[in-house]
Symmetry: C2
């Protein structure tokens, strides 16, 4: 922040005495920080003002993760910031200088305040740099899922009004097709900047190239600091399990606080080396591209997430931490011995999404990994809760430990509150491990809203809480455990059925590869559970009756699926099952038990 | 925050389009967060506003350390929060409940928004609880130095307009005398609440008692959350080395951020056990009463800071961290073997104030302590810099390590910037380890201002930076090293003389116990160094010429004191030398070398 705002707001002897304004520094600019609203909660008058107290650039700076990089360059200047393969190795001083150049180059290309800059790339160093360079130009970063097809990319570029897009060489075709689609629709296409696959990539394309662009910028660039910490820093599109993707807007304040929260909930420290197996396009890599700068850690970039590459990188770079989806964990646990390498020391993995299965935890621990589990949504920047481990649990048997680890846990540092409540009355559910309610959150690490979707934002923030749509119980020790998505829960004869529990039993059947359970509407029971099952190859002789009998042996009667259909499950680009499609199918089947007892 | 503010500010398609207001939730309260000012820096129009983005209680909460205690009760509920001797041991759930009760009792006693509640007590559990209970009642905590005399206590109670004061039994006489002084001046005296020395103290006084008061409150108290994170949370009076004490105002935002910064700069983690050797009245214990709640650590309270008590407490409570002034370190290093105890594990000590001498570091390391060093002022809440240790320094010789450790270091996480600059031009000094400048800071962990002293606040924040008054150099690795107080620097014949360096040489003389150097005005040289020296008992035969000769052998000629006076040094209640009194004395001596060469 180079501009000096050397002055002050009102200074009053008491907060009731608003007329006795003492204006300081009459010749300098004044800054007033105030919360204004029409209701009876916060007004200027409600702020406690003491005489002699001022707000100036000496004691107020909008919170932004850009500050982390400035500090990293000063404090950890000679430490390694980024490693990528054997060719790229930067210090924090170099990263700082490169980001300034890139920001400067973006401004030269016409990018200005509030413009959206997109990125379509795997975890290459450019992705880490864009997390700083784009906000430094006062622009908004929109990282896109690398598995999207060109029509979805086109849709999101249009929706976000992207002005410029960085594209990795491997995804160039998808991006170019997306731009063609936009052209066809007479929409102004964004500037395309290519991130080459390697330094030696021979470029014949008549397009901007990342390193050339960066070199054209100046490291004397004056950072365009956010004027407000509530200014947007990024847009992350949801994967659209239930509807079309929504653009989740993050702000500088939330990103600053979430960076610290996530780094700490991960158990990292100043000397941590983080392997990028979690995609940076996913919730801005849980804010860790910023968090690593806050603590001067080292980012180990990784283009391909394979067991061989992961073990190799851990060994070469002395990785201490990584995060991943459970699928990556399975991949590592099941890796062939040739692909595995001895770990240099314990490596801590934070798992997002579904809880890790006990046998995978066991395998990973045998290999020398520490596995923990967090829960969050795109709307919460990163983990909102983590299953904070207690030392007294160390001595428990694996199954017990796995059961404890499968819980979503307790709120992280910088989110204000995570609770399980009745979504209608907003009453807390009892912490008995049985009563279900919706997980709701509030605090500074909850999104600013859904881009251009006032209605969805309003719905999500109903009652002053963010509604996650996840159904959970709260255990007596305060730990939260998810039971289902609110939309997925089945109510049969007045009883709540967790589809996750039914799916758990189906998955335990030796012939089942995939399973998803949804509600089938019913005239008599209201709803009944309907299972969609994919069988292992060679198990095609299994009948639905056999599956139903197996479930009945392992579940209460009312939870047992009444219908079982064998087929492949429809999935989103991020691999989530599209339950809304299965619900449509189940609905089309009609009632199994009618009130007129036809069946 | 129990009130729901379910709504939103303006939602615009672009930030230029301020007329297209989309008001959400017409029937609910609206909250607008905006930075308003008259100048050209920040205006409502300058905020980037996107359609669909709102500010509501779901995604905005004023930052306050009260949130840490709420979370601690949920997340670390059964962990030990506070230990004191063998009689007191609370969990975080109990601390939470006790603080709610105490806040409720304060409100019942008539304490309301913005009222000042003072405390005069050593590090007993009540001090930790007051750090939460007072802000929970929307009041402002003012912890007073326990070494103050009654007239200074009276002065500060009057200046801060204290409504209620908590007083430890051992300091009751001082407090009662202070209240008498106020009565004599016809000033309304604050309510006095006694903190008894032990549970069994027989109380005959007709005054409020801490536990009785707390019991009268309700744990169902609704916390009075700050309406603005810029609301004051505490007032800390400076020790008044150079003038009468100034009331440094902290706000909730700064306290929240500094709690996290300090905890991390101390190298603490979730299972840390912190021994309270640092007075909690000093900068609110560097914000660690709040920080321990943020991370669910354990506070070990300590009434008397003696080597025996410290070693005993470390051993019994498995202390992992402590902070102290160098004097406590010497005390521990020089403790008799009978008072020492084997450490249960490495104990990390963060030293504030002057850097620790090499021989003390060496002794402490031999005893199993890890010693590090931070620098800050009352005005920066806590440490502004810390001498962040690099692993590659481990192998250096003790003297080299001590030299590195004696540097004030690099900025902590949550302060925005710490720099060494020319106090006039505000230009950065070169990082050459030689060029001197003033240490200046800016950021959210710089005080709100000096209570009722607009002029001093204005002076301190000149040019949009907080001026520390400390003169330092910046080394090529970016580490800062203090050379002197700005007011203490002597300019003789155009040369800057660091009084700290001259004092260092004086201290190395075997007969010198104490030494302080100030400027003596001079017609010819402008100023010359004047030393005040206290000799060891039995060394009274030493002459000023001998001292001057010794200095000349160890210092450049221009730095050598021209005047040496033997006497005791005047000190403040916190033990700092009152150089302004010495300067007066030196001034009264008149010129040593006049331009007319009389001498």
């Amino acid at each position: 922040m180079t501009t000096l705002l050397t002055s002050s707001n009102v200074a009053l002897r008491s907060f009731n005495d608003l007329n006795r304004l003492v204006q300081l520094h009459p010749r300098t600019q004044r800054v007033q920080l105030r919360c204004k609203l029409a209701g009876d909660i916060e007004t200027d008058e409600s702020r406690i003002l003491l005489e002699g107290v001022v707000t100036s650039s000496a004691n107020y700076v909008p919170l932004t993760p850009i500050s982390f990089l400035e500090r990293a360059a000063n404090v950890f200047g000679d430490k390694t910031s980024v490693v990528f393969g054997s060719s790229v190795k930067y210090t924090w001083e170099e990263t700082h200088s490169r980001c300034l150049k890139l920001a400067s180059a973006l401004v030269q290309l016409g990018i200005s305040k509030g413009d959206v800059v997109a990125a379509l790339a795997p975890n290459v160093p450019a992705m880490q740099e864009l997390h700083f360079a784009v906000p430094m130009a006062e622009a908004v970063l929109c990282t896109l899922n690398t598995r999207l097809d060109s029509s979805m990319v086109a849709h999101l570029l249009k929706h976000s009004e992207t002005k410029l897009i960085f594209v990795d060489q491997q995804l160039l075709q998808v991006a170019q097709q997306a731009l063609s689609l936009l052209s066809k629709d007479k929409i102004k296409t964004p500037i395309l900047v290519l991130i080459p696959e390697s330094e030696n990539s021979s470029l014949t394309y008549d397009i901007h190239e990342y390193e050339n662009l960066l070199s054209s910028g100046s490291s004397n660039f004056t950072i365009r600091w956010p004027k407000s910490e509530f200014d947007p820093i990024s847009i992350n599109y949801t994967s659209g399990t239930t509807s079309s993707p929504k653009g989740v807007v993050y702000n500088h304040r939330g990103a600053y606080l979430s960076s610290i929260s996530t780094f700490l909930c991960h158990g990292m420290g100043p000397m941590s080396t983080y392997l990028w197996t979690l995609p940076m396009f996913h919730c801005n890599g849980w804010c860790l591209p910023w968090g690593m700068a806050a603590f001067g850690g080292t980012n180990v970039c990784l283009r391909h997430v394979s067991a061989k590459d992961i073990f190799e990188s851990i060994s070469i770079n002395k990785v201490t931490h990584m995060s991943a989806a459970p699928i990556v964990l399975s991949m590592m646990a099941n890796a062939s011995p040739n692909d595995r390498k001895q770990l240099p020391h314990k490596v801590d993995i934070l798992i997002g999404g579904s809880p890790p299965p006990p046998q995978i935890i066991s395998k990973m621990e045998q290999l020398g990994f520490g596995v923990s589990h967090g829960y969050g949504l795109t709307e919460t920047y990163s983990a909102a809760t983590s299953c904070l481990w207690k030392p007294e649990w160390d001595s428990l048997a694996l199954e017990e430990r796995a059961a404890l680890k499968s819980r979503q846990g307790v709120q992280v540092l910088c989110i204000e509150r995570v609770d399980v409540r009745d979504p209608e009355t907003m009453e807390n559910v009892p912490a008995d491990g049985k009563s279900i309610g919706e997980i709701v959150c509030r605090g500074n690490t909850v999104m600013s809203g859904y881009l251009k979707d006032v209605k969805a934002t309003e719905e999500a923030f109903k009652g002053g809480w963010f509604h996650t749509g996840d159904v959970a119980v709260k255990h007596p020790d305060g730990y939260i455990e998810i039971k289902d998505r609110l939309k997925d829960i089945i109510i049969s004869g007045g009883e709540n059925i967790s589809t996750i529990e039914v799916e758990g039993v189906l998955h335990s059947h030796p012939a089942v590869v995939e399973a998803a359970v949804v509600a089938r509407p019913d005239d008599h029971w209201g709803q009944t559970p309907c299972a969609f099952v994919k069988l292992k190859e060679g198990s095609e002789e299994i009948t639905s009756d056999e599956i139903i009998k197996y479930c009945r042996d392992h579940l209460p009667h009312y939870m047992t699926p009444r219908t079982v259909l064998f087929e492949d499950l429809p999935r989103t680009s991020t691999g989530k099952v599209q339950k809304f499609m299965l619900r449509e199918k189940a609905k089309a089947l009609g009632s199994l038990f009618s009130t007129e007892r036809k069946v």
